[in-house]
Subunit: 95 residues, 4 copies
């Protein structure tokens, strides 16, 4: 199932500053083959839901290597069958 | 990666009443082997993230059979390595 | 604007166990005049959006008293004009 | 309470294409005094939570004028007391 997702990963039990952890997450997301764009509150990612979930597991594993024992995630995503629509298409449609 | 998730599935392009679609989703979630509890705004589900994603795809496919061409999903979920914690444990810890 | 909301409050920079903080949040939400039901991943709350936001600010202020300097919140909520629908109505409609 | 929020507004009962409605929401958000940046899955907004909620109510009212009887919203937001951090600061901290 292809989706356009908005993913936010919140390391718990560390911080309050978490930017060093977010930089590690950003490196993993951007090194992936999926189209990922970080914004001020998360990362927009386009691809198969199963691939995005594998990426999430890589991020959680990396955070665990850095000592993060608990992670909170939010993901809003949408699927569409009436037509193909990329992240760029979605933005163009409302410009 | 085992998670405790809060999943909300919003059929788009149909409604405003969507209860007939939510009943179909409820049947799929409750027929699964995962521990799932529906509440007023979604369903709490416990299990491997990959299994939950497969279940989400089953729900989207069923909605498509019913004519729903676009679906919006939100999922908040957390993973924990310092100890095992089920949905029941989480509620007990704050009772 | 009357809404039915699903609110999750994640204290950052403390934990990984946050149950002591969640108990404080639960006390504030349940002491309010709004109809609030805690579930394994958050709390369902029914009421005017502005009242729910004031309640959120009370929770954040209490967490600050407990030393929490940063808080992450997620809130999914819906409004409806075609008919009145309480949390109980929503559950009954899909039973 | 000042927050940095990621807001997504989903008109229900219309569509599946909702871009005409999202354009109306975009106009309201960008005409406001709050710093708002639309991205592929929603809009990042910075400001007092109460002001953001008033803006949400304006959007819902406009959608109602356009015939939308039901709206689903998701909002992830964070507050911080250890230091001031704008949306731009958040992005700069992970660049």
């Amino acid at each position: 199932m292809k989706v356009v997702a908005d993913l936010c990963i919140v390391p718990m039990g560390v911080g309050p500053s978490v930017s060093s952890y977010v930089r590690e997450i950003k490196a993993i997301l951007e090194a992936s083959e999926l189209d990922a764009e970080m914004h001020a509150n998360g990362t927009n990612i386009e691809g198969e839901l199963a691939d995005i979930c594998r990426l999430i597991e890589l991020c959680e594993a990396r955070l665990a290597e850095l000592g993060v024992q608990r992670v909170f995630f939010t993901m809003a995503f949408s699927s569409r069958r009436d037509k193909e629509q990329s992240m760029a298409d979605k933005l163009a449609a409302v410009s």
